[in-house]
Amino acid sequence: MPVILLEKDPFAEVLQDNKAVLSAGGELNVRRPLWGIVQKKNTFAYLSIYQSISGGEPTPISLIDSSAPGGYSLSNHNFFLQDVQDQRQEKFQLIPTFGPYYVFFYGKQPVILQCSGLLLNTDDFNWKNEFLNNYENYLRGTKCVENQARVYMGFDDVIVEGYIIACSVAYNKDLPYLCPFTFQLLVTNYQDVSEPIVTKAEEARQVGGTSGMPETSTFQNQSTSLTPEAQALNEELGYESLDQLKYVEYLSDLWSEGVWEVDPSTGVSKHASEGTGDIPAGIDEWGMAGRTASWVSEHRPVRKQWLEDGEALTRIDLASTQQQQGSDAVSVRQKMKKDASAFPLTSRNQASRVGASLTTGVCNSTIVVADSPKV
C-alpha cells in the first residue's frame, strides 16, 4: 500500500499568528486616479558633457549641434529618444543545498541604460552624422576618460551621469530620412528631478471644504458649488455634507500609520512619530469617512496567503488524486463532495498526527494510506 510522507520546510522567520501582517495595508489608503491625472510637462531629451579635474567645479565641453547658434552647444537635443530601459539587479549568490536554499547579497550590479530612438538623416537635419561625430570625439567612454569628463543625459524627469559604452546606427532603405539608433550608457549617478504635487494624502485631490488643509495644496480651495454631475456622484457615494473633506480618489479608508524608521544605531525599525497627528482633518479617529466599501468590512475574512490544516489536507488529497489518476480537479472535487471518507487525508481527524504535521512547528510524519480513490 502507498505511504504518504509529510515533510515541512519551515520559514526561518515565522509570520506568527498575526493576520494583521498580511492584511496590513491591504485595504487602507488605496488611491487611484478616479478624477483624472495631472500631466507632466513635456521635455526634450538632451546629451551634455562636463569635465571635472581633481574634483573641481565641472566645466562643460561643447558638442556639435546644428540647431544652436554657431553650430555648438552645451546640450544637444538633436535626437528622438523613444525608449529607455533601466534595469536594476542585485549581486547575489544563491546556494541551493540539500534542503532550504541560502542567498547572500553583495550590493548592486552596475546599471546600464539601454536607449534607443531615431536620428534624422537629411541635408537640413544632419543629426545622424552629428551624433556619430560627437560619439567618436566626446561621448564614448574612452574619450570621456581621456578628457576627465562624463556624459549627462536628461530625459523625462531624470538626469543620469555616466559613460556611453556602445552605440549603433541603422540604415534602412525603407527609412531614407530616418536612422534608428541605440546606445548604452553606464550609469555612475542618477538624479530624480521630478516635482510632484502630491506627496501625501493631505495633498490629494479633494472636493468640498478646505478646513485644516495646508495652503500649499494644489487641489485645495476648489469650488464648493459642485456641478450637477459632481453633486449626483456625491449623493451616490453617500457623502453627508459638502463641508466635509472629500478624498475623491480614495477607494478605501484613510488611516495614518505614522512613520516607522530604521534606527541606524541599532538596526531596529521604530515608530518615529505619533499617528494621531497625521490623520487628515475631517477623518475621525477611527479613519472612517463614510466611504467603507463592502470588501473592507470586518465581516469578510482577511485574505491570507497560507492554508489552514483542513484546507491543506484537502488540497493534498486533491492534488495527489489528480496526479495519480490523471483526472481533472472538477471530477476529483465532485467525488470528494460525494464521499469524503474515500480520501486518505480529508477523512482523518485533524487532531491526529496528520493535522499536527501541518500546524505550527516542525512535525514530519509518515502515514500508510489505501490506494487513491478511483475518480
Binding site: 500500500m1 502507498p2 505511504v3 504518504i4 510522507l5 509529510l6 515533510e7 515541512k8 520546510d9 519551515p10 520559514f11 526561518a12 515565522v14 509570520l15 499568528d17 534542503g99 532550504p100 496567503q305 497560507w306 492554508l307 489552514e308 490544516d309 491543506a312 488540497r315 493534498i316 492534488a319 495527489s320 488524486t321 489528480q322 496526479q323 495519480q324 487525508l345 498526527r353 499536527a356 504535521s357 501541518l358 500546524t359 505550527t360 512547528g361 516542525v362 512535525c363 514530519n364 510524519s365 509518515t366 502515514i367 500508510v368 494510506v369 487513491s372
Partner: protein, 69 residues
C-alpha cells in the same frame, strides 16, 4: 527490489512553512531516514523542537530493503 516509485508530490503553504506531501508506492529505509533528518535539520534551522513522530508500525511493516533476503 529496493526501488520505490513516487506516485505524486504536492506542496502546500501553511502558516509557518511549506509542506511537501509525497506519495510513494513503497518506501526504503533511506527515504525514511531522509525524512527524519530533514525534520531535525529544519527544526534546528528555525530554532524550535523537532516534533516529528516516531515511524509507526504499519509504515515499518512496509519498508523495503536494498537486497532481498
Amino acid at each position: 527490489m529496493g526501488q520505490s516509485t513516487e506516485l505524486s508530490s504536492t506542496r502546500v503553504v501553511t502558516r509557518d512553512g511549506v509542506v511537501t506531501a509525497t506519495v510513494l508506492d513503497r518506501v526504503s529505509p533511506d527515504r525514511v531516514y531522509l525524512m527524519l533528518v530533514k525534520g531535525s535539520a529544519a527544526a534546528q534551522y528555525v530554532r524550535t523542537t523537532d516534533d516529528t513522530a516516531l515511524v509507526p508500525r504499519d509504515v515499518k511493516d512496509l519498508l523495503i530493503f536494498p537486497k532481498p533476503e
